[in-house]
């Protein structure tokens, strides 16, 4: 068992200042292309070998959790988009499920199916960014171009259904923001049909490529025991051979009814993390195909819960029904009240277990919202994994851990 400490930048810079050390201190970031955001790393180097690393987070701190306390439950949804900005719909889902758990409200099956379909597309989109930037960091430019080409199609689907490419805010407490459009299902179908071939293409470029193998096999491995001790989750944990997936462990939104496998790695090195994420994209496609088929079979239906105390009435009603008008104004100004208590919901976001802990004091605004941000927790293992490796491997390792700094700092 390793000591579970994460060095602070001062631990590295102070001894160096005294001047009797042989090692060199190097600042990497906060503005560095390979840190994938504003992450500052203080490196202690012996030649090209990393002796110690201290991640210095907080450069992108925006106070999202605190700001949510001053917004009504429905308005706070837009803030969740901005934590992990590569997977906005997963964040929406985690928060919305926590509020719905406290409200104890019934969500129609059709809504749950749409949520599953869209979060799986989010996972593919997020993994495509990871794949593209990871390969780009190791100087494989074309994968990046191909991955972003497919991601564009996913973003186009989001724009089609929610009106925004990235800051979707499509999942709302009690259901969805709007119903699906007529061309949604055919567009998704078109994407799902050819995506599998594109994943084959990425694999042609990388999986057996000797240069890729040289840079990723046995680079920065972590044992399953250490990974659990550090609290890693998602593909980073599964690459070590630990079978932990919230979609299987504590299913939400009806995941227990879908047929899919959880890809598991063995060595916990960069290559296994790569293989696990590639396999995850294929599994996500499987789930999305099943969800798509269910939506085709289901046909039109409700897109919000029937509870009028949570979701505003349809707009055409408010011109002739005073009751609806009152509800409409009441919900958009004061919002709905959530029973006193607390709730925790963990979902499997593209980066790992994304948990929302919500405390309500019975009012229309959350008393406290906390996110268990997988990126932040995964990043804690970085020093442990980077020690004794080359600087070039550190660059590969950061990309392989796939942190999103918006979520790390919140």
């Amino acid at each position: 068992m390793t000591t579970l400490t994460v060095p602070s930048p001062r631990e590295i810079t102070e001894p160096a200042r005294s001047g009797n050390k042989e090692t060199m201190v190097l600042n990497m970031g906060p503005h560095h292309p390979s840190t994938h955001g504003v992450l500052r790393l203080v490196l202690e180097l012996d030649g090209e070998v990393v002796v110690n690393v201290a991640p210095d987070v907080g450069y992108l701190h925006t106070g999202i959790e605190k700001t949510m306390e001053s917004k009504t439950y429905q308005k706070a949804v837009v803030l969740t988009d901005r934590t992990d900005y590569l997977a906005p719909l997963s964040n929406n889902l985690s928060y919305v499920l926590a509020v719905e758990k406290l409200l104890d409200c019934e969500i129609p099956v059709r809504v749950q199916t749409i949520r599953v379909l869209l979060t799986e597309l989010t996972r593919i989109g997020s993994h495509l960014v990871w794949l593209g930037t990871h390969a780009l960091d190791l100087a494989a430019m074309s994968v990046f171009l191909y991955a972003f080409r497919e991601r564009e199609e996913i973003l186009d689907i989001f724009e089609l259904v929610s009106g925004a490419r990235m800051m979707t805010s499509y999942f709302r407490v009690g259901g969805l923001a709007y119903d699906l459009t007529d061309d949604f299902l055919p567009t998704v179908k078109h994407f799902l049909d050819h995506m599998s071939d594109h994943i084959d293409e990425y694999e042609d470029l990388l999986t057996r490529n000797p240069l890729w193998l040289e840079r990723s096999v046995d680079v920065a491995p972590i044992s399953a025991e250490d990974a659990i001790a550090y609290g890693l989750s998602g593909a980073n944990l599964r690459a070590c051979g630990v079978n932990l997936d919230m979609r299987k462990l504590i299913p939400y939104s009806g995941y227990e009814t879908y047929d899919f496998d959880v890809p598991i790695g063995k060595n916990g090195d960069n290559y296994d993390r790569y293989l696990v994420r590639i396999a995850e994209m294929r599994q996500s496609l499987r789930i999305a195909q099943q969800a798509h088929q269910r939506l085709v079979d289901m046909g039109p239906g409700p897109y919000v819960t029937a509870d009028r105390k949570i979701v505003p009435p349809p707009k055409h009603e408010i011109t002739h029904s005073m009751e609806s008008l009152i509800h409409h104004f009441k919900l958009w100004t004061e919002g709905f009240k959530v029973p006193r208590g607390d709730a925790y919901v963990g979902i499997e976001s593209p980066r790992g277990i994304l948990g929302t802990y919500l405390v309500s004091d019975g009012g229309p605004k959350p008393y406290r919202v906390h996110f268990r941000a997988p990126s932040f927790i995964n990043l804690q293992a970085l020093p442990h994994m980077a020690r004794g490796r080359l600087v070039a491997d550190l660059v590969a390792l950061i990309a392989s851990l796939d942190p999103v700094l918006g979520e790390v700092d919140r």
Binding site: K71, K75, A76, V78, L79, S142, Y146, R149, E152, D156, E159, L160, V161, S162, G163, A164, M167, S169, A177, Y178, T181, E201, D204, L205, L206, R208, N209, P210, L211, P312, K315, E317, I318, T319, H320, S321, M322, E323, S324, L325, H328, F329, W332, T333
Partner: protein
């Protein structure tokens, strides 16, 4: 070993002879989807009256507090909007706006709509505040009839009893 490298090179070579997927912005613009949320527009009814009745619900629904509405009483002889009040001031701070569309969802008269214009840039903070005349559509571009409930309020006749759908 080398065979695997050539497998990858074959993929990239194949794409050399295909049409690029990139669009030459700003010469060519990618069409946006119907639901795309861009710059706001304040709409009018078919007869040219403003749809906005100054209820400030958009302002209340805005998560980033970007909207300022100052309502005023309509002149009965020459009304600006149907009903009792209209928006004397309507300002949106485009630096604060996050284009979430909550104002559109909240508006009871469908007065504010997020349209497809997405090229919004300004040289200073002052010009980022879009005023009512920048947002309002021309009088001949109105649509839709005035709902009866607003007509009755404008005519200063007593309001009809509330019809409640249960």
């Amino acid at each position: 070993m080398l065979g695997e490298l050539f497998k990858g090179l074959r993929t990239t070579l194949r794409y050399m002879f295909e049409q690029p997927v990139t669009v030459q912005y700003p010469e060519v613009k990618r069409p946006v989807r119907e639901r795309f949320r861009g710059k706001h527009e304040l709409k009018r009814f078919a007869n040219g009256l403003e749809r906005c009745i100054g209820c400030s619900l958009c302002s209340a629904a805005c998560p980033s507090d970007a909207i300022l509405v100052v309502p005023a009483e309509n002149d009965p002889e020459n009304p600006t909007s149907p009903g009792e009040r209209y928006a004397a001031t309507y300002e949106i701070n485009m630096l604060r706006c996050i284009f979430c569309g909550y104002c559109e969802d909240a508006c009871p008269t469908n007065a504010i709509v997020l349209e497809h214009q997405y090229e919004l840039s300004f040289y200073d903070r002052h010009t980022s505040i879009y005023t009512k005349d920048m947002l309002l559509v021309p009088p001949d571009q109105g649509h839709g009839e005035i709902p009866p409930i607003l007509e009755q309020l404008g005519n200063k006749r007593p309001s009809p009893p509330a019809q409640i759908d249960l």
